[in-house]
Symmetry: C2
Subunit: 425 residues, 2 copies
């Protein structure tokens, strides 16, 4: 694949001019839409919903989506794992917009199922190399100063099935192990200071209260930087599958470290080399050695629409190309989009709040002429790191890896509007 | 009530010093918590959730809150209205944190119940003083460039029952007709430009597809400024009770104008004087005349915890005072908190993203000595507008009003930690 960055001509690059071109052709507005105005009974006639009373306010004390949206759900891939208790499902990214993931659609990854924890009986212990071992109830934790931060969480195995070629036909499956919510919690630094960290301490190990007792080693430097002990997501209590009542938030780092049902934080002077950081969550290279402690989720992006599960159904003319970008290093500074498999690139429009280590939404509004496209997006973060091609990744790391695939994704848009997961070479 | 702004002594004002004072007294950490570490079986013994597999990923394709959170729901007040189809329920603000309201907890206000609209059959018409009347399908609208913005929505009648004194014991009821979500939609300006607005046009009138056919007059200047025609909230499709599949977003202005189930926008040269802007949503003054076109929601705030529904249950020592502030004029620049009924004020800590016309979260972390408090908060926005006392409001507008009560709220915290809605004079 060519990595040249020859821009399209300025006229073709202008979003407005592209859109206007589409509109003046009458494919969206103008003739086609005006024709509807003259005789569409769905606007000229009174509909049932305009005629009869609907449900009142007592119908749903906790609301649910419209029945017309029943297809917007998390989905799993049956052959991926043997047991649902140690499996994964995926966020329907192709159906979502903006940068916030609704709590009910945040992907799940469990190692021993969803722990059913009674918050009144839940405890968090801090022990190890501390002056005073401490045990907190949930009420204790809610007496410390709180913070609210919007962060993406990405599983290290997101896009993992793509290392050896295109396997899964939809961004829900290829990229749906990422979500972004606003967390409310207490700074881990504050809790560690409360216990008093000994000068010999260099690492911490969070432990989960589920039956897998998930444990990971985290450098003390990160623990004292921006980690949160969180009890709320998007304003309300954590969902059970996201660690209710307490989870660790490790901004920008792989999701497996964000220990759910958090019950203990041990402070130590060296890493523990737990199962989940030795046989798992390491990157097996071509030479048989494994990279380990690969924590930061590098810059990544994906076009969510059009995509295999969100084909173009409206024919030629104005087309909104929409996608997500994120980086564990900080803010996204730029996303480029190619419609020809990486030969030419156009800078997309970033929209919505730009927050460090959060999802960013990008758009490219084009006039589609009906010819096949090879759609790609490429993210760059504020530190200048950018997303590689899949072949660049393979050249560096071989094809044995499962984790940390942030390669550029290609969607093949066909003339009939259907979309397929492909690779270009 | 005195409006003097004498600050507390610098030492007493320091959040850290207050917290440290509480901690060194052993009320939170230190002796009490360390004692737990020595012998709390809930941390020293393996619990059931640490022993047995939980539910797998196929349990809930669209997730729901923990059963332990069943009390976190919208609630109505039975005596407020005769029929649930033309009623209101309230967001449980006292249970939430941060600035995002989960979609299932956004308050409802209907005039003819929840319209059950089939999105495939829904149409939006733009007509009146335009060059080309247009009718859009939902698919048409999704071909225009999109925006993502986080905005609060407040019903003009929020706190309306407080005009004649304290009536409802809980911030869910006194202030729960406000929520804040991220909307995805198309700029109304773009759609109006598509139709071509005639030079004689000065107003627009959105109309709802529900059985009340809600209609309001909006100045063209606002319509061309920051209004959105929105189809998503917090990433997913609008909820039915929030106007699925389409609603108008009128940032900073009273919620009644954010027409749900939006089916038509008429462009005209004068206001229509509809029912909902004449007999309703106007402010009856003491002299019998009514203020009308009072659209902007002025700066307002409320302490959400402690509050009547969220009493202090942990006794003396560190206490997190948490609340929300918002202004239809733009960003919140400052929130002051008083613990003595408005005699002395301390500037609170604003936390989380600060976005124009969105909710802002504030905190004041104090060491509570167990004595009664008269808690108040007072918001100021970036334009210098600030929240008045209820008596200042009454002096200006009498006591006949229902709408636009942004007066300072007082909570009486008693020595036993229970909290009551009161007024101070």
């Amino acid at each position: 694949m060519s990595e040249t960055k020859t821009p399209l001509s300025p006229a073709a690059l202008s979003r407005r001019s592209l859109l206007k071109a589409g509109l003046s052709a009458g494919t969206l507005a103008g003739t086609a839409v005006a024709a509807r105005a003259a005789g569409d009974p769905l606007i000229t006639e009174v509909q049932d919903w305009n005629r009869y009373l609907g449900d009142g306010v007592q119908a749903r004390p906790y609301g649910t989506p419209s029945p017309y949206e029943a297809h917007v759900v998390r989905r799993d891939v049956e052959w991926l794992t043997a047991a649902t208790e140690s499996s994964v499902n995926f966020t329907p990214l192709h159906e979502l917009d903006g940068i916030i993931t609704p709590n009910g659609l945040c992907f799940e990854r469990h190692h021993a199922g969803i722990a059913d924890v009674d918050p009144a009986a839940h405890r968090l212990m801090i022990n190890g190399l501390v002056d005073t071992p401490l045990v907190f109830t949930m009420e204790d934790l809610k007496r410390f100063p709180r913070e609210n931060r919007l962060y993406f969480l990405e599983c290290a195995a997101n896009s993992g099935m793509e290392w050896r070629g295109s396997q899964l036909n939809g961004c829900q499956y290829t990229h749906g192990m990422v979500h972004c919510v606003m967390y409310t919690g207490v700074s881990l630094k504050l809790l560690l200071e409360e216990a008093g960290v000994k000068t010999s301490a260099k690492w911490v190990m969070p432990e989960g209260a589920d039956a897998s007792a998930m444990t990971r080693s985290i450098p003390l430097e990160k623990a004292l930087d921006d980690c949160l002990v969180a009890f709320k997501m998007n304003g309300e209590a954590l969902r059970p599958e996201q660690g209710y009542p307490l989870r660790l938030v490790v901004p920008g780092w792989e999701g497996n470290m964000w220990v759910k049902w958090l019950r203990r934080i041990e402070v130590g002077d060296e890493p523990w080399h737990q199962r989940e950081e030795t046989s798992k969550y390491t990157d097996l290279l071509a030479n048989g050695k494994a990279r380990r402690f690969t924590w930061v989720m590098d810059p990544k992006s994906v076009i969510t629409s059009p995509s295999p599960q969100a084909p173009i159904t409206h024919g030629k003319g104005p087309l909104v190309i929409s996608g997500l970008a994120w980086s564990g290093n900080g803010r996204i500074s730029r996303v480029d989009v190619s419609i020809d498999g990486g030969r030419n690139w156009t800078t997309a429009r970033l929209d919505g709040p730009s927050l460090s280590k959060a999802l960013h939404r990008f758009y490219l509004d084009i006039a589609w002429d009906g010819s096949p496209l090879l759609l790609q997006s490429r993210a760059m973060d504020e530190h200048g790191f950018y997303q590689p091609t899949k072949n660049e990744l393979r050249a560096a790391r071989g094809e044995n890896s499962i984790y940390h695939n942030n390669g550029i994704q290609t969607w093949h848009v066909k003339a009939d509007g259907t979309v397929e997961n492909v690779e270009v070479s």
